[in-house]
């Protein structure tokens, strides 16, 4: 979620790196040898699991570093996010409980200045 100087939210919670709707077989083949973005996303998933099991600054830093990196590359093009000064992330956990899917907020990180 992006926030302004007064920590007012500029947007709702947004999914980090949403998956593409469709991926062709040729793209999958290409990903056999070149898949840096996806592998980095898997590392972010590992960091979220570590944060939930035994929180460390390292895991939070690794996640926020990649969120800011992505945001900064988008921010150049999107004016709507240009006024943002802070960012915050949270981890939502989806679990099957008694046969039904349940989504809970498992972790909310501290506000981080966008640099």
């Amino acid at each position: 979620m992006l926030l302004d100087e007064q920590y007012k939210p500029l947007s709702d919670w947004t999914l980090f790196r949403p998956h593409p709707v469709r991926l062709g077989f040729l793209q999958m083949l290409q990903r056999m040898v070149w898949n840096p973005y996806w592998n980095e996303s898997l590392f972010v998933v590992s960091c979220t699991e570590r944060l939930l099991d035994y929180p460390t600054q390292h895991s939070e830093k690794q996640i926020i570093k990649r969120i800011i990196y992505d945001l900064c590359s988008i921010r150049d093009a999107a004016k709507s996010t240009a006024s943002a000064s802070h960012v915050q992330f949270r981890i939502d956990l989806v679990q099957r409980v008694n046969g039904e899917l349940r989504q809970t907020v498992a972790y909310t990180a501290n506000l981080q200045k966008l640099t």
């Binding site: 998956h19 469709r22 056999m32 898949n35 592998n39 570590r50 895991s59 899917l101």
Partner: protein, 234 residues
Amino acid sequence: MSLLVVEFETALRWTEILLGFAFAQQSLEHLTRFSIERLIFFPRLVLSLLLIFGWQTPWVLLALFVLALVMLKCFQGPYNGGADRMGLLILCCCCLVQLAPTQAWKEIAIGYLSLQLTLSYFISGWVKVVNHEWRSGQALCDVFQFSTYPVSENLRLLHLSPRLLFFASWFAMGLELLFPLALFSQIGLLIALTITAVFHFSNACFFGLNRFFWIWISAYPSLLWFQQRVFVEF
């Protein structure tokens, strides 16, 4: 009877070449990311290429081992979970071969790698089969429905085919649990390794786990040698 004669030196050399390729592929992916990562992964790329070409292999392996420790420190653990752990295991066994004083100890190092590779399948199958959700196919449905792994949203629709996923679950569990039996025959092992390679390939396509494919197949030559050494020569 043996269809294919796999010498120890040949198996070791192919393991090093495939490991070098897997490490080079991983390192190239990191070069596009953060500058701190480039400091680690550019030397790793160069060392991986030297490993492929077989130049000063003992020193190259030692340097790759030191870099692996730096990576563990940098990422506070493996970057890519099981793929990195398997890479480290293969690297350690190749280093031990270089340090081993006699041929017997060299063979023990590669034998250890082969046993770990076999156990990697068997234990993975065991963990699944003792779990009711895997036996019912629900676990695989959940993987497709809401885990972070499927590479695209349309693949999530596979959770709507529980019968297919039930059979897929039992295929995966059967393959993993029965894998050790393939060691009793070379042709059986060749067939099993082909099926597991296709299994890793499909995991790469469905879940984007490309690194698992390259790193696991790099241990296959060692297992082919081990099968011959233990089940044919004895």
